[in-house]
Structure formats: structure tokens, C-alpha cells
């Protein structure tokens, strides 16, 4: 059934959107991520204008994250204090990101920055995840034990001022690194139309040294706050949230997320990370491909003039 979207002003197939929402929702529940890095490129390929895709996707990510965060919170796997600190940074980042995106569109360079961000961040993180998880899967198959060598007190966490206690993460660290991380992810989420979980989760483990158990839940909690805010800002500032598009996506998305969260217990963490790394890597390369292939037409209409 084709439906005309009131803000995007294009006609799309409603069934396809619900199905896509469900598939991305399933993946997001399975891996504990928002799924924006998958959905935004799909929406762009379907012909949804980039501004509307990015803004409406923030809404969809908020919904599927809310759907799965509650089960993490019941298992006491959400560090609300850390999430709040990250979200405070994320709020500033989202504000900056919405303005940066407007400015890039006026310069006609929004496409370039979006493609490059996907290529660099998804390519890098996907590649690292894949190498790391395949390595640990192989080591386990060979019966070797993983040797973890960790500097327990890195200077950027313990040397900086404004230390705060995070009981659930069992950390007593400076507030500066999480705030900076939050700002960075907030900017990316406004520009790339993603929640930023694919960056937050590894950053929490490797930079903030948070225990693995609370990482996914906390990341989802921070994503809900950042994307909700980004969504309100995009609607208020750019009038670019398509409520019909978002509702169709989240209808499938919240259901898919629940099934995904259930399925996740059947797989091992390393195998899941390897698959996720592969998906992230492919998505990054696919989005970056446009920078390398010869364009069909040397001219392109760019939006943002209205």
C-alpha cells in the first residue's frame, strides 16, 4: 500500500517500511544498538530527503531504544548516573550538530560529510570489532584463554579534576571524558541520523573502562535522551520530522526489538560482535562507495535552498 508522507512529500510503500522497521528493530534488540546507522542509509536509498530521513530516524531510534532499555533496567544493567552525564554532553552535541548540519547543507557539502562520516567511523569501528571478535572466537576454539592486560588507572580518567562516583559501574573517575564523549556522539547523531551506540559501546569499554555488563543498557539510556532531544530540535528548528514515517518505522521497530532481545541470549557475545562488526563495516563501505565511483551525471541538485 503506497502512502504519501506529509513532510517528506514522497510516496512510499507502507508495508515495506513496517517490515524494514521490524528487521532493523530485530538487529537493534539483538545487539543492543539503536539501529540508526542501518535505517538512515536505507531511507536515503528509498528517496526520502536527507533532512527528513535524519530527523525522523532519531525518533525511530528513541522508540526502539526505549523498547529494549526497560528490560536492561530490570536486570540492573543501566548506570543511570553515567547515562545522565553522557546525555548532558549529548544534549550539547545534538544542539551543535543540528546547526552544523544546517551550515553544511548551505555549503552543499552535507552529502560529502555524511558519506565520509559513515566511511570513517563505521569502517574503522566495524573493522576493529571484526578483527577483535574473530580473534577471540579463534582463541577460544583453540582452547587458549584470553590474556587481558589492562592499565587499571589511565591518567585521562583519574588525573583530571571533577571526580564523581559511579557506583553501578564501580568507578570513581573524572566527569570530563564522559561529557566529551557525549558531545562527540551527540554531534554525530545529529549529522548521521544515528543514535551513536556503535561508537558509545566500544568507547565505554575501552576508554571509560566500564564493566561490560552495564555498557549496553547505559548506552541505550543515553541514546534515548539524546535522540529524543535531537528529534524535538529537528522538529522545532527545521520542521523536518515526518511523524507518519517515524510511526510506520517504530511500529515494526519496537516489536522487532523485543524479538531481537530474546534471540540475543542464544548466541555467544563474541559471535554476536563479529556479525555486528561485519554489518557495520559493510554499511560504512557501502555509504563511502559513492565517493569513489564515477557519477552518472556530473551535476546534482542539492537541497537547502528553501
Amino acid at each position: 500500500m503506497d502512502i504519501y508522507l506529509p513532510i517528506a512529500e514522497v510516496s512510499v510503500n507502507a508495508g515495506v517500511l513496517v517490515l524494514l522497521g521490524a528487521v532493523v528493530g530485530f538487529i537493534s534488540g539483538l545487539f543492543g544498538i539503536g539501529g540508526g546507522f542501518l535505517m538512515t542509509p536505507i531511507l536515503l536509498w528509498m528517496g526520502i530527503p536527507p533532512v527528513v530521513a535524519v530527523a525522523s530516524e532519531a525518533n525511530h531510534v528513541a522508540a526502539s531504544s526505549a523498547s529494549s532499555v526497560i528490560s536492561y533496567s530490570r536486570k540492573r544493567q543501566v548506570d543511570f548516573r553515567m547515562g545522565g552525564v553522557l546525555a548532558a554532553g549529548g544534549a550539547v552535541g545534538a544542539l551543535l550538530g543540528v546547526e552544523v548540519f544546517r551550515w553544511l547543507r548551505l555549503l552543499g557539502q552535507a552529502d560529502l560529510v555524511v558519506s565520509l562520516s559513515y566511511l570513517i567511523f563505521l569502517g574503522l569501528i566495524g573493522g576493529l570489532m571484526l578483527v577483535e571478535s574473530v580473534g577471540s572466537v579463534l582463541r577460544q576454539r583453540r582452547g587458549q584463554t584470553t590474556t587481558k592486560r589492562r592499565d587499571r588507572r589511565p591518567v585521562w580518567l583519574y588525573g583530571l579534576p571533577f571526580k564523581v562516583r559511579f557506583p553501578r559501574s564501580r568507578l570513581y573517575i573524572s566527569i570530563i571524558p564522559p561529557v566529551v564523549l557525549g558531545v562527540f556522539v551527540g554531534i554525530l547523531s545529529a549529522i548521521m541520523g544515528v543514535g551513536g551506540g556503535f561508537i558509545l559501546v566500544p568507547a565505554m569499554v575501552y576508554i571509560l573502562r566500564m564493566p561490560a555488563g552495564v555498557v549496553v543498557g547505559t548506552s541505550l539510556f543515553q541514546i534515548i535522551i539524546t535522540t529524543s532531544l535531537a528529534s524535538i530540535l529537528q522538529a522545532g528548528r527545521n520542521q523536518s520530522v515526518d511523524i507518519v514515517l517515524a510511526t510506520l518505522l517504530l511500529f515494526g521497530g519496537v516489536l522487532g526489538a523485543q524479538f531481537g532481545a530474546r534471540a540475543s541470549s542464544r548466541f555467544r557475545a563474541e559471535e554476536l560482535r563479529a556479525v555486528l562488526g561485519l554489518i557495520v563495516l559493510i554499511m560504512g563501505l557501502q555509504m563511502g562507495l559513492v565517493l569513489f565511483i564515477n557519477p552518472e551525471d556530473p551535476f546534482i541538485l542539492v537541497g537547502g535552498g528553501e
Binding site: 506529509p6 528513541a62 557539502q109 557519477p295
Partner: protein
């Protein structure tokens, strides 16, 4: 090419001259959630006491939309966009349908004067222009795009044609019976909202002898209209409502699944 000039006989006939008349099957296009483009049929008739050879041109011009266009350039092995150029005076929709190719109907200057045909659209890139004194001539308009200007203009038209927003149809106006003609106007889904000026021009001997104007209104209706107005008139409230819908449905899904 111009039709060979036949001595105008109307000077000998005291009756009113030839005229054209037209009507649209649908002058009001409602964009609802089921909207997937629209086809409007224009019917018209040529009234002429004499039966002189007549040509009819139908021009449909949608609301103006500034166009930003960039050129892909290769920098360090990467294809990136150049600085965008803004074209003004370009309609969001344009169709020129005629009973014969426009160049056979009237002369270049006549078509230019009437703004008939895509080549005669008065669109330009004012931001790229500056006024100079050249060879002692004052107020010469010079475009920064230089010799490439026509290439940019052609690219705008080519991209718009690809999106079905611009069209030239050399036999889009068909005479179905003596003096009775019809033309079809195809609006794609991406057709802009607003008023479309439709002009029907009757040509005889390469000169416009009669003109009629009709207006097509494309407007959002029903739920589409309500949501669009809500998003534009109360944007912050709209944003909060959409987030509440998202969070509530996420929460509901998790409650429903927990009970199972």
C-alpha cells in the same frame, strides 16, 4: 522555422477573430495520504469562422522554487560537490505541450517574449552575476560561471526532466476533432504544492492570436494537511508529541512482551 506567411484574411472579415477556449477535468488536486501523482486532462476548442491552420500550445507553470545545483568534482581521488549555484526564477513544475514542435510554430523571438518552452524560462543565477563595465559599455551582466553557464542551465533542466518535473511534448496537444483538442498534464508525486498557471495559446501564422489562462491548485488535504500545518505552525509541540509517541510505544511493547 516559421510557417510561411499567408496574407491575414481577418482584415476583410468584420466578425470577431479566432479564439481559443479550454477547460480542465480537475482544477483542484488534493494531496492526501493516497496521493501518487495526478493526471489532469485539458480540453479545448478553437473557434475560427475561417478554417485557418491553427497551432495550440499549452504551458503549465508550477510555483517558483529556487534550485541549488552542484557539480561533482574529483579532489584527491574523491568525488565531491562543488560550491552550489542557486538558480532563481525556475518553476517547481513546467510543462510545454504543443501540437507541433515549438520551433515550427513560432519564431525564436515570439517564443522568448511569451516565455513558451523550457529554453525560454527566465531562470538565472543572480548570485553568480556581477555588473561590470566592459569595453566602455556600462552595466554589463557577467556571470562567474562564464562559458559554462549554459551547461549548468542545461543540467538543471536535465535533472528536473529526469524527476518528471519538467517536460516538453511536441505532440502533447492533439486535435481530436475539427477545432477540438486535448492535452494531458501529468503531475508526479513530487510536484510542489501551490498554484499552477496554465496558459493555452492559439497560434496562427506564427503569431499568438488568442490566449486563455486556467489555474490548477495543488493542495494538501485531510490528515496530510492537518499534520503539515501542525508541523509548521506548532513545531515544538509537534516535536514533543512525536517523541512521546515514540517513547510510549517503546514502553508499551516492552510491557506487552513481559506479560507473555
Amino acid at each position: 522555422m516559421v510557417t510561411p506567411a499567408i496574407p491575414p484574411p481577418e482584415v476583410f472579415v468584420p466578425e470577431p477573430g479566432p479564439s481559443v477556449s479550454a477547460a480542465l477535468t480537475d482544477a483542484n488536486v488534493r494531496v492526501t495520504s493516497a496521493f501518487s501523482g495526478a493526471q489532469i486532462v485539458l480540453y479545448g476548442a478553437v473557434f475560427d469562422p475561417e478554417t485557418r491552420p491553427s497551432d495550440v500550445v499549452v504551458i503549465v507553470r508550477g510555483p517558483d522554487q529556487p534550485i541549488r545545483i552542484a557539480r561533482k568534482v574529483r579532489v584527491a581521488g574523491l568525488w565531491i560537490n562543488s560550491r552550489p549555484v542557486v538558480f532563481e526564477g525556475a518553476p517547481g513544475f513546467y510543462m510545454a505541450a504543443s501540437s507541433r514542435p515549438l520551433t515550427e510554430i513560432a519564431s525564436f523571438s515570439t517564443l522568448r517574449r511569451l516565455g513558451a518552452g523550457i529554453d525560454h524560462l527566465p531562470m538565472n543565477a543572480p548570485e553568480e552575476e556581477r555588473i561590470e563595465t566592459r569595453y566602455g559599455v556600462r552595466d554589463v551582466v557577467v556571470s562567474r560561471l562564464g562559458g559554462d553557464y549554459l551547461e549548468w542551465r542545461r543540467a538543471v533542466i536535465r535533472l528536473k526532466e529526469k524527476a518528471n518535473l519538467y517536460a516538453t511534448d511536441h505532440d502533447g496537444v492533439r486535435f481530436v476533432d475539427r477545432g477540438l483538442f486535448r492535452a494531458e498534464i501529468d503531475l508526479p508525486t513530487s510536484a510542489p504544492i501551490g498554484e499552477y498557471q496554465t496558459e493555452i495559446i492559439l497560434f496562427q501564422n506564427g503569431e499568438p492570436v488568442s490566449r486563455r489562462a486556467r489555474t490548477i491548485t495543488v493542495e494538501k488535504a485531510g490528515l496530510e494537511r492537518w499534520l503539515f500545518l501542525f508541523a509548521n505552525e506548532r513545531p515544538w509541540l509537534y516535536g514533543i508529541v512525536s517523541v512521546l509517541i515514540a517513547l510510549t510505544s517503546g514502553w508499551l511493547a516492552s510491557v506487552v512482551f513481559r506479560r507473555r
